[in-house]
């Protein structure tokens, strides 16, 4: 029942990062991302990219993630990094490719640290707090927060449905047929969404404000 870890799941712990306020962590992540994205250029971009990656690795260690778990979290991204890096290499040369790769890895690692050291509920509470001023213009903070958490939760569930549907298509010898895979998958995902909606309504979560 192993799930591909596209998303870092919260790992409880007692590190400085676990105890830091959500606002500090998210703010830090925003600042971090801005630096990574804004600073460009042949040597400067490369140096900053490397430094930020190093910083992200240090954050992983401080957050108690360990190097192996951090690398595991990055594995799904590696394919994309390699593909993008190759394209960049062809069009813009090796230093641009290296910078893109470093930047992507640094961003992904930093985001992983924040997710791994912040409980989803703490994140939701923070969102609700931040959105509260917007209540005046008709935004319903609890609902927005719930939507975020549903989107996060839907990813592994949808992936599991996709794997099951693929196996079912293969078992019938229809492995190469996109329609034999996509049609049932879409139907099942929509059916799951209906069920989840019913479950939310039944738990009285559809009308929280």
């Amino acid at each position: 029942m192993s799930q591909p870890s596209f998303l870092a799941v919260y790992r409880p712990g007692d590190s400085v990062l676990h105890h830091a306020r959500v606002g500090v962590k998210v703010g830090g992540l925003v600042a971090f991302s801005l630096v990574v994205v804004v600073v460009r250029g042949a040597t400067l971009g490369l140096a900053v990219g490397g430094a930020m990656l190093a910083l992200a690795v240090v954050a992983c260690l401080v957050g108690g993630l360990g190097l192996r778990a951090s690398l595991r979290a990055l594995r799904p991204l590696l394919v994309m990094v390699v593909a993008l890096g190759t394209l960049q290499w062809v069009f813009y040369g090796p230093s641009a490719a290296a910078e893109t790769a470093l930047d992507l890895l640094a961003l992904a690692l930093a985001a992983t640290v924040v997710s791994a050291t912040t409980a989803v509920n703490a994140m939701l509470d923070a969102f609700v707090r931040w959105l509260r001023p917007l209540r005046a213009v008709g935004v319903r903070p609890e609902r927005v927060a719930l939507t975020f958490s549903l989107a996060i939760a839907a990813l592994p569930g949808t992936l599991a449905l996709a794997l099951e549907t693929r196996d079912a298509a293969r078992a019938r010898g229809l492995g190469r047929h996109p329609r034999a895979f996509l049609t049932p998958l879409v139907i099942r995902v929509v059916a799951r969404a209906h069920e989840t909606g019913d479950a939310l309504a039944a738990r009285g979560l559809a009308d929280i404000d």
Partner: protein, 235 residues
């Protein structure tokens, strides 16, 4: 025990085609449920699930009305839902948060505003289901039985007075379905249990057999099971 009343409550679905044809899912049904544990059995597609969904307003009757402890379900839906918990067949659809404790906390968001108190309460609830050790585990890593127990914990955390369970043990192996069954039978809440597990159904005080969108039998759980088995045998 709360009182659940169906007053000629029925559900008809319009097909929306030119001829204006419609299909009856549940014929107008009148029932009063006051027993602590009520089993609802019957074939797939007989209307059991629709009957269950009427009780907390997931389905609105097209005729008649449903009243839970004096509250009309169609008019006071959110108040009724706070009283009537609902447990689904597939816990995967019901568990929306990543970890067990977070899912229980989600249920408590309305009733316990303070985050720390909410966490403490959620841990107590998990502990009462023997799941405290799995509090921070991802819901995807649990066994089917544990997942159904977490789903139950999430529903019962807000202390509803009625629990409607729609085939809660259908996806479980023997050991897990016994465990979930024992938990259900030990609840202080009024239980309306839809099930294909006839042994579990027999442990209830009252049994309803649903067939072709109507109540075909209403009596003691033992008699209901016998009626259902006989109806299948004779076709």
């Amino acid at each position: 025990m709360p009182t659940i009343e169906l007053d000629a409550a029925g559900v008809t679905v319009e097909h929306g085609d030119a001829r204006g044809s419609s299909r009856t899912i549940l014929r107008p049904t009148t029932l009063t449920l006051t027993e602590r544990r009520v089993a609802v059995i019957g074939a797939n597609g007989s209307g059991k699930s629709t009957l269950a969904r009427l009780l907390n307003g997931l389905v609105t009757p097209t005729t008649g009305r449903v009243v839970v402890d004096g509250l009309d379900v169609a008019r006071h839906t959110s108040r009724v839902r706070r009283q009537v918990g609902f447990c689904f067949t597939d816990p995967a659809a019901q568990l929306v948060m990543a970890t067990c404790v977070e899912d229980v906390e989600l249920s408590l968001r309305r009733s316990v505003r303070d985050a720390r108190a909410r966490h403490r309460r959620a841990m107590e609830v998990l502990d009462s289901f023997g799941l405290a050790g799995h509090a921070d585990d991802s819901v995807h890593t649990l066994s089917g039985g544990q997942r159904q127990l977490v789903a139950l914990a999430g529903v019962l955390a807000t202390d509803p007075s009625v629990l409607v369970a729609d085939e809660p043990t259908t996806l479980l192996d023997l050991a897990n379905s016994r465990r979930v069954g024992d938990v259900l039978m030990g609840l202080s809440q009024q239980l309306v249990l839809l099930t294909h597990d006839l042994d579990l159904a027999r442990r209830c005080e009252r049994g309803l057999v649903v067939a072709d969108g109507a109540i075909a039998f209403d009596g003691s759980a033992d008699d209901a099971v016998e009626h259902y088995v006989a109806s299948v045998a004779t076709g």
